[in-house]
């Protein structure tokens, strides 16, 4: 791949001065690829964590214990209404200094790397929105549908698994798409705790080579592409799962 495109971009640079160095310099190319990979991993894992938190949180919000409900409420409001960037700084710098260090044979490394802190922080941030989304979905399932299930002698658990959850998931999918897309964009904030993802990597590349406009173009293309693919995937899921005669 690299051998194929390198001559073209080298030639482009020589002729026009457009310096897409990540496509013809093997060192920068490696850096670029690792940036893509870390960015995608970051997006994937923070989405997974936020979904897990969302599901558990929606379950906790319907719990009987008022303490649990109050805690969930406080968690949601605290993380929705504070800047995600300060949350990242807080997790990495404030909590990170108090996590234990691991002896790596001569030098010490924190138990939780900045990449892990980014996943944790962004996952918790996105999860706060997902809890509300899932809860709204669960609440939107009509009471009469549940009563109908009951009249068919389904147990509580059967009703939940076969009636409430499938419908709730479909109802919450459009809002979930929005939130996951916005979470994917927010992962670029991991820059502030120097996770070498796409924004950070290209920032280093343009600092080294003074080719801001070209790298900026790549950065825009990367995020537009990732966000469009994610949104397209979720829309596809939405269409596949759509029930005839239900919802829009």
């Amino acid at each position: 791949m690299f051998q194929l495109i390198a001559p073209f971009f080298q030639d482009l640079y020589n002729r026009t001065g457009l310096n897409f160095i990540v496509f013809y310099d093997s060192y920068e190319y490696e850096r670029f690829l690792s940036g893509i990979s870390i960015s995608l991993q970051l997006i994937l894992w923070s989405i997974v964590l936020s979904l897990v938190i969302g599901i558990l949180g929606a379950w906790a919000q319907s719990a009987r214990s008022p303490v649990l409900r109050g805690l969930m409420d406080a968690y949601i409001q605290a993380f929705r209404n504070t800047p995600p960037m300060i949350q990242l700084l807080f997790f990495y710098f404030a909590l990170g200094t108090f996590t234990p260090q691991v002896d790596m044979g001569g030098y010490y490394q924190p138990l939780i790397s900045s990449f892990m802190w980014a996943i944790i922080s962004l996952g918790i941030f996105g999860g706060a929105f997902n809890v509300e989304i899932f809860r709204a979905g669960l609440e939107a399932v009509p009471e009469s549908t549940k009563e109908a299930a009951e009249s068919l002698c389904m147990t509580k658990w059967q009703t939940y698994m076969h009636v409430t959850l499938p419908l709730a998931f479909r109802i919450s999918l459009p809002a979930l798409t929005n939130n996951l897309v916005s979470l994917a964009k927010t992962t670029s904030l991991a820059y502030v705790i120097s996770v070498p993802e796409m924004t950070y990597t290209l920032n280093q590349v343009w600092s080294d080579n003074v080719n801001v406009p070209e790298m900026m173009l790549i950065l825009f293309l990367f995020y537009v592409l990732v966000v469009s693919l994610l949104a397209a995937g979720l829309h596809f899921l939405e269409r596949r799962l759509a029930l005839p005669g239900y919802g829009q």
Partner: protein, 279 residues
């Protein structure tokens, strides 16, 4: 055609003082965590040494941090005003009959909606010159915070443009047709019939975007604008960069933003509920 429909009256947006509806419980949790961390920091500082505690340091630097927070608020106000004006223009271009206007507006809207704030911030910071020449040959310096404000207004502009387009599309087609049958031109229909109804539908999402904008302003600190976060970091450095300061100082920042954003969020939700019923 009276102007009543266009007037924004405070009493129509939630009754009386909305602050009384803020549930203190949520704020209490953050406040408790904040004071807990202060106690923790106090316990950690060794009694033998004569070092100031976290709380006295925080009080000492409070005016400096609040000054930075003031800049955050200023940036959010200016950016929101600019974004509203630009976004309405862009939204109207998006529903234009001319494809030559519609397509570029669609492109700009989607470019800025689908890019992270941080990337847009970098773009404006690095690609917009730090000084500008007016047509008269006068040189104007553009300070960093103005550029950051402009950068923050771009994604909000794109989203307001989408909100407006959505609101206009949500008005039943019959209204356009009846206006046409009453010999209204397209411009008149928009001005006197469609847009007044959009204002109402667009206000809750507009406020929501203001909250998101205010939450994004700390990003300016990455590029050296002296707002709340960079001032806090400077204060921590200046008072000896002690690790036990980190938790109380960052928690204080979180509380500061929470205290500002939470009432707005509550108010937005109230309006949403009210308009959902009215529509």
């Amino acid at each position: 055609m009276s102007g009543m429909a266009f007037r924004i009256e405070a009493r129509r947006f939630g009754g009386g003082s909305f602050c009384s509806h803020v549930h203190w419980r949520h704020g209490l949790w953050l406040g408790l965590a904040f004071f807990g961390s202060l106690v923790f920091a106090y316990a950690q500082s060794e009694p033998g040494q004569q070092v100031p505690s976290a709380i006295s340091t925080l009080i000492l630097w409070l005016p400096f941090i609040l000054k930075g927070f003031g800049l955050n608020l200023l940036m959010s106000f200016i950016a929101m005003a600019a974004a509203t004006v630009l976004g309405i223009g862009l939204g109207l271009l998006q529903i234009s009959k001319l494809p030559l206007l519609r397509w570029p507006a669609w492109f700009v809207t989607h470019l800025f909606r689908n890019s992270p704030w941080l990337v847009i911030l970098f773009m404006v910071m690095f690609l917009v010159p730090f000084e500008m020449y007016l047509p008269g040959g006068e040189r104007v310096m553009l300070p960093d915070w103005i550029k950051a404000t402009f950068a923050f207004s771009l994604p909000v502009m794109a989203n307001i443009s989408e909100i407006l387009r959505g609101a206009i599309n949500s008005i039943p087609k019959g209204q356009w047709e009846s206006a046409e049958s009453l010999a209204f031109t397209r411009g008149q229909t928009l001005r006197w019939i469609i847009l007044p109804q959009c204002v109402r539908r667009a206000i809750p999402p507009w406020m929501n975007w203001y909250a998101l904008l205010a939450l994004a302003t700390p990003m300016a600190s990455i590029l050296g604008v002296r707002e709340a976060v960079s001032n806090t970091q400077a204060a921590m450095e200046a008072s000896g960069a002690r690790p036990e300061f980190l938790i109380p100082f960052y928690l204080f920042l979180l509380c500061l933003f929470f205290a500002y954003i939470y009432p707005i969020a509550i108010w937005t939700r109230k309006l949403e509920r009210k308009y959902a019923v009215a529509n």
